[in-house]
């Protein structure tokens, strides 16, 4: 089946992102296709490119990136939720007159419409909330 995940919890503060990664990896192991992970609410913080967790903790950004690199999973971050919380790619930073950026590929800023679309077009949408 084609799966989409919605992640609404930030990293470390809440288990939501951990649970989503565990579920996504298990779904892939069962032969499903994990097409999309959509990040909304505090879930957008999972895309912070500067995250520097201690060495003995799982690096969530790297784990999400691996889903993209190994399984073609699209990592979509709600642009409105991201801008409010300081997650900007180079293009949005320039548009807002800011130096630097806090989000980079394979994470991509996208509209909320893509979440609705994923919810209706994929076989399953599973939500992980804080």
């Amino acid at each position: 089946m084609r799966y989409a995940l919605l992640v609404q919890g930030g990293p470390y503060s809440r288990q939501a992102a951990h649970s989503a990664l565990r579920f996504g990896e298990a779904a892939i192991a069962r032969g499903h296709r994990l097409e999309t992970v959509f990040f909304y609410h505090d879930g957008v913080y999972n895309a912070a490119r500067l995250a520097a967790p201690p060495q003995d903790e799982p690096h969530l950004v790297d784990r999400f990136r691996a889903l993209h690199d190994n399984h073609g999973t699209q990592l979509k971050v709600c642009i409105a939720a991201g801008l409010r919380r300081g997650l900007l790619d180079e293009r949005e930073a320039a548009r807002h007159g800011k130096q630097g950026h806090s989000l980079e590929a394979p994470f991509e800023l996208t509209g909320l419409g893509q979440l609705i679309d994923a919810g209706l077009s994929h076989d399953r949408l599973i939500t992980f909330s804080p």
Binding site: Y40, H41, A80, A81, G111, L112, G113, L115, I116, D117, G119, L120, L125, T127, S129
Partner: protein
């Protein structure tokens, strides 16, 4: 028991109060976007979410506009199926006359039927 006119494509469940968290605002945003993309959207207010509909809300601590202006835009987006959990109103001593907008109240058995009747259910 279940009114077929309540069927839609997207059900957005709103369970949080205005101001205290962004759940209500972000849930409403999802509903508006779905409607703007041409989907038939139903809103279901349960638990503390019913307080989103209380008339007479004002700006927040630092001048945040709150969600009342967004609620007033729902009709413009053709979102006119507003369902409210009757028990949640009762628990707070509220009645439909206290609310900003016309709603349909649901008794407990109708909640499950409403979830079943929508292909996409998003819970905020």
């Amino acid at each position: 028991m279940h009114d077929e006119s309540l069927n839609g494509e997207v059900l957005v469940i709103l369970r949080h109060a205005p101001h205290g968290t962004s759940w209500l605002r972000e849930g409403l945003d999802a509903a508006l976007v779905a409607a703007a993309f041409g989907r038939r959207v139903t809103l279901l207010f349960v638990g503390e979410g019913v307080t989103a509909l209380v008339a007479g809300q004002a700006v927040g601590a630092l001048g945040q506009k709150g969600t009342q202006p967004t609620l007033e835009m729902l009709a413009m987006y053709d979102i006119d199926t507003l369902l409210v959990d009757q028990q949640a109103l009762d628990e707070r001593g509220l009645g439909v006359a206290d609310l900003l907008l016309p709603v349909t109240t649901l008794a407990p058995p109708e909640l499950a039927a409403t979830l079943a009747a929508h292909p996409l259910v998003m819970n905020f």
